[in-house]
Symmetry: D2
Amino acid sequence: MTGPVPVSPSFDPIGGALERLHAEFVDDDRGSVADYIPQLGSADPGAFGLALVGVAGSVYEAGESERTFTIQSISKPFVYALALADVGVDAVLERVGVEPSGEAFNAISLEPGTGRPSNPMINAGAILTTSLVRAAAPAERFERIRDVLSRCAGRPLGVDDAVFRSEHGTGDRNRALAYLMHHAGSLTTDVESAVDTYFRQCSVLVTAVDLATMAATLANGGVNPRTGEEVLAPTVTEQVLTVMATCGMYDFSGEWLFRVGLPAKSGVSGGVVAVSPSQFGIGLYSPRLDERGNSVRGVAASEAISERFTLHLMHQVGRTAPAFERIGPDGPGSEGAAGPVTDGGVAVLAMQGYLEFASAEQALLALRTRAREGGYPGALVIDLDHVTRCHPVAAALLDTMIGAIEAGGVTVVTVDRRGRRLLASSGEFTVRHEAVAHCRSRLDPA
Amino acid sequence: MTGPVPVSPSFDPIGGALERLHAEFVDDDRGSVADYIPQLGSADPGAFGLALVGVAGSVYEAGESERTFTIQSISKPFVYALALADVGVDAVLERVGVEPSGEAFNAISLEPGTGRPSNPMINAGAILTTSLVRAAAPAERFERIRDVLSRCAGRPLGVDDAVFRSEHGTGDRNRALAYLMHHAGSLTTDVESAVDTYFRQCSVLVTAVDLATMAATLANGGVNPRTGEEVLAPTVTEQVLTVMATCGMYDFSGEWLFRVGLPAKSGVSGGVVAVSPSQFGIGLYSPRLDERGNSVRGVAASEAISERFTLHLMHQVGRTAPAFERIGPDGPGSEGAAGPVTDGGVAVLAMQGYLEFASAEQALLALRTRAREGGYPGALVIDLDHVTRCHPVAAALLDTMIGAIEAGGVTVVTVDRRGRRLLASSGEFTVRHEAVAHCRSRLDPA
Amino acid sequence: MTGPVPVSPSFDPIGGALERLHAEFVDDDRGSVADYIPQLGSADPGAFGLALVGVAGSVYEAGESERTFTIQSISKPFVYALALADVGVDAVLERVGVEPSGEAFNAISLEPGTGRPSNPMINAGAILTTSLVRAAAPAERFERIRDVLSRCAGRPLGVDDAVFRSEHGTGDRNRALAYLMHHAGSLTTDVESAVDTYFRQCSVLVTAVDLATMAATLANGGVNPRTGEEVLAPTVTEQVLTVMATCGMYDFSGEWLFRVGLPAKSGVSGGVVAVSPSQFGIGLYSPRLDERGNSVRGVAASEAISERFTLHLMHQVGRTAPAFERIGPDGPGSEGAAGPVTDGGVAVLAMQGYLEFASAEQALLALRTRAREGGYPGALVIDLDHVTRCHPVAAALLDTMIGAIEAGGVTVVTVDRRGRRLLASSGEFTVRHEAVAHCRSRLDPA
Amino acid sequence: MTGPVPVSPSFDPIGGALERLHAEFVDDDRGSVADYIPQLGSADPGAFGLALVGVAGSVYEAGESERTFTIQSISKPFVYALALADVGVDAVLERVGVEPSGEAFNAISLEPGTGRPSNPMINAGAILTTSLVRAAAPAERFERIRDVLSRCAGRPLGVDDAVFRSEHGTGDRNRALAYLMHHAGSLTTDVESAVDTYFRQCSVLVTAVDLATMAATLANGGVNPRTGEEVLAPTVTEQVLTVMATCGMYDFSGEWLFRVGLPAKSGVSGGVVAVSPSQFGIGLYSPRLDERGNSVRGVAASEAISERFTLHLMHQVGRTAPAFERIGPDGPGSEGAAGPVTDGGVAVLAMQGYLEFASAEQALLALRTRAREGGYPGALVIDLDHVTRCHPVAAALLDTMIGAIEAGGVTVVTVDRRGRRLLASSGEFTVRHEAVAHCRSRLDPA
């Protein structure tokens, strides 16, 4: 045995990829910094930071990933999450739609009659969403918003008061949207406090690393992967990611999803977040914007990451190993074999990988074939040792099948040497398989 | 060993789920049959069929799943696929956008100046898409469209001539859209032949099983799972699924994706297709439509399937087993252990399940820790036996890491007892690991 | 008595004013010639002709007032007149609105549901209007249109076949509008023949003098002042002038009426007509157009004419002589006196000028005062010798008053030495005064 | 000679006509009272008042013509007049357009980029117009508005404080419009004070008689016919009447002008004003509104008045007596004769009635013919004794002709026994005829 091999501790293919993206796009000086308020206009146009946080909690970064800027519209999905948590999806949907409008960020887009804004990612919808956050008083509402943003970022976030005052002083279009909604009855809180809170939430200070952490929290089912805190419920993150997928990049949303294929959100200060569900979150910062209000380098770098990492949501990884393998007295079977065989009076079905609908269906078909063609010996062992993840639909399908086989007089046990209980319930089926320990005891009484 | 156990050959949890959905919704008589042409108006309003085709090719069905009807707008995503294949994504995007418009199926939605329709799922965009299909003559264009639809369905599809003639005779709004586009220069073929072909493609006859097979072809990366034919390129199916996700259900698209979470498309004759990528396709038929032109029972049953099967695209399966396990002289390690250890002078890293970004990152971190803390013996074996699927980004990350370790003088071999070559190249990294056979020979020369 | 004085026969203040306008604007080379078809694009950009035709039938002209060009949209008000005459105002209003849309000439502007275009001056409304012209066949429809245009112009008008063919070949936007209306059910004739006829009517050849004569026909209550022919009913001309006032200049209509104050219509070939009701019509030709599609010099010269001639419809001529005067033994009374006095046993009320509501009211008040204060002798003579025009409302008011005085036992006679019968009936009152000849015989039996 | 004849002092054909209209429409109970604030909702739905004020100052009324209600949107044209007077037409046009939008009263209708509202009759345009009224402070601005409204009405008008407070409390849509304009930079005063003043002006209390007087002030060139005060400049009234003609009745404006043919304005409390220029103003009050926000009975009665009185702006009174007559030794000539003849060495041209373009042209043509055919004796007398009104264009044309004849050596004098100076200057011609007194002295030195 040789001694430790000097592998460079700085070896980092993910960070390296970010560094290469930074180098590649740092000279792209297209677009202009937003200047409707002086505080935004004075941003350094050359600033460019990237960060990626994986669901395991590691941080990768390049460029000015620690420079602070105001979060602006990137607050919207997180406040939407808070409103969903506070009042529930039905109450939120009644007041704010989820329909992409193909319109600019400041479009009016209110449903005739009800004043319901099209979606929570345009300003009107965001102001209304903010008003839905539960609070006894406006100040408490903002503190609850700041709290959820901070917990997603994993650190207490501050507010840029100068930006807030300036937004407040020049935000007449947003104030107009609020008055239109108040008139139509969709906005029911006081208009001035609603827009005040909205301007405050837009003025929260973040870095690219904060944004990446926030995005990773969404990628990780609502659990901040750096702090381990459960900030948002998994269902809420699914809803937020859906709206980001269809409405997150204003009137570029459709093309963004087509090209980049990740739920995302951009802000006027130059930030962009993008989420690869169950994998990681990205945060980018580059203040020069294109004509739709999206960060030029943020969009360009995101497209490059998505293409190089093949991250498009609809990407289908073509070749798949079978979800189960036949194991018998003669050793492991070959791929694609037609089902479990006996192994010393016990049929064994060894499943592996991510059990989804398709893999569960494969197993089902094999079990049926076996039942028709040969039947089972007294016991069927379903070995889940190499199962890494189990989708509810797979659990439900397998469970139903187990019940049917048991009804035929066969003892079925699911084994997992680590005691993991992988199968869970879904809405359609009742899951009622045995505990793993109990299975083992029946299988291997010695 | 007991003899064959009499498991009912009709045992079928998937088909059973469809039967329950059929029973649950068959009495829902809301909505009205489209009647703008007599041929649609005479449809049996009570007809209701459901079918599901998995990526393994099995067919599940309930109700009138073999009743024929005209495909109507459900032809759009498949003709879009054909156009993408024929002229390429850039040429198609230049002529038809991918931006959801939040508008009805017959909206005008042309970009000012260019006459470019918003997306290929509204009629204007569909007519333009049809015109992009390569053909020497209009008749050939339609035959190529019928051919791709038939190959996705797995059988030769016919045309309802009466519907075609009636659509042709009453289709002045579509004709108007075509003339607007021809005027603006976005439609460059002859207007009458463009709409004639479009009406013909809408008049192709299908069943719910056909639709499910077509959807499953999209779910399966373009390979018809029943015939095994590669009908569409994987990249094209990703693009088509993206557009179905944002624009497939007209002005209900955003809410559909929010609630159902599956790329889908509906048609005025009462058909609906929905796709669970990499899993299955669904086809539904029920001719009574809601006010947005979507099949009432088709939408209701789809929502139920999605909720019960937990099929939402953004659903994140929470608990995941680790992607690798430590195996050493002392037997398999516990979960979450910090990396590979030596096994008789050889360190072994046994990976399992679906290798994605997150699982590759886990392995990377473990390999780095090991390199820092203990170093490697002369050889590192990466055992891919239980890897079921490998995302390109994971392949790339691992490959880069292998290179770094090899640069430190350690022999790295990737093993797979079945000779599968799982690692593939991506745009970012160059993959250059050895063939599995070669690895084995070096590890186990005996 | 001196002999004939040599007043220059060329003396002509109206023609002189046109000459000055021509000189003033001939060098204005702003704007561009329409070039969507080559036949329009080849127009001489410098061409500039002006013509004015008074209701007495004289023609005044300057510049290239005899150069021919295609009438284009200026045909619209005249075809609208023909449709109103053919099917009546209610049937026309049901199919085409009269609401200005503030939109461009080629706006879609169809009422949701009905497909009723906003007004007959946008293309959609004009195509629909053309389809309402009564005809057994399309060819007859066009000939009836050409006939009414020719009779308004006072000469047979030809068609520019090259322009027609080119419009026909490139007119897909208009064809689209027609198909949209046919689809919605507002256009009920064959689409192709409707647009064919519309393109033909746009291709009729006119000169600035023709346009001025056509405008003068509208100014003159439908009687062509040069030929004396009654081409249109007075009511129809009022309706046409109203629509020209609100919708004639596309999205410049409101500002045109504000600045110029005359009902008008422009065409893409550079023609403009404007009407000063009861006074004259103007025709202008200058093919360079502004961004709204109106002739640059046509608009500028019209503004100048209106301002210099004080022609704004809403201009109120301030000072007015009284509508009646007191004539007695002591000679003509002074202005503003309180009514008729006796003249040898006979009270005389001598009216003068244009009897409108206001002047009739003045007389009414005087007659009432007289009745209250002094009463009438046996006879009241109302002398209408100097009345030049009588509005129906004035006739009605006076007639009612005459009846009341007669009911008091006073003989009332209205005299007019020329036998003119000026008082006419209106909808509100019944007019029943004696014939003038009869009055005279009773007043002056000798 | 008989004594005074007992003509009933109550004899009143105009008032009688109003009474008949009241009786005819009082039972029409279609429509609903506006109820967006309780103060409007509590209006008596049966209230119905009509009033007419002629340019001579008499008041005619029927029904509840003295019941007070808030003026609401009918304030808009008068405040527009005040703004035009304060800052001039160019400055006003730069900030508020004059283009009818075919849209509802509360439409947003702001020009992209500039935030310029389409016209001053929609709420956005009215709020902006109000902000243009010159004032050192908001309170002064409202007092100046109340002052102009009061002077048009002929009495000091009060404010309904309850309505004001309620409008202020519920006027969020108007507040939104103001914020949109403030954001776009078109509204430059403080938003809250702008809408406060606007709500106050809407809360001014009027009666139908007040409205009729205000309308009559516009009909009378800006001079209140009851008080004789010059409230508005004539040019301003022309501009206001034009905008009322195209934009006064919201999205019914085009059809109103088509059917009723009078500049008008309606308000949400049920008031309507209509103006017959140079004749009279009408005020109506009936609070039940149609779906466009116009008073049902107000519109119906206005249509009836217009039709029965033949008041349509575009109505052309057909038959006209000649504008001049030949008077010679042989007595008065017949109609239509070809010009002036000699009368004892003097040619006399006796003009009569309203001298407009057409009548002046008639005289011009006759004078030219005479000059060509016979020439003039030493003097030409133009007798204006029976001229009742003279349009500037007629004055200018005649003056130019007189100069030409004088240049030929003929003495021309214009006579008017009352010393009226009828001919005035216009922009095109220089008027330089002699004073009437001087003329007489030369003609009749005895």
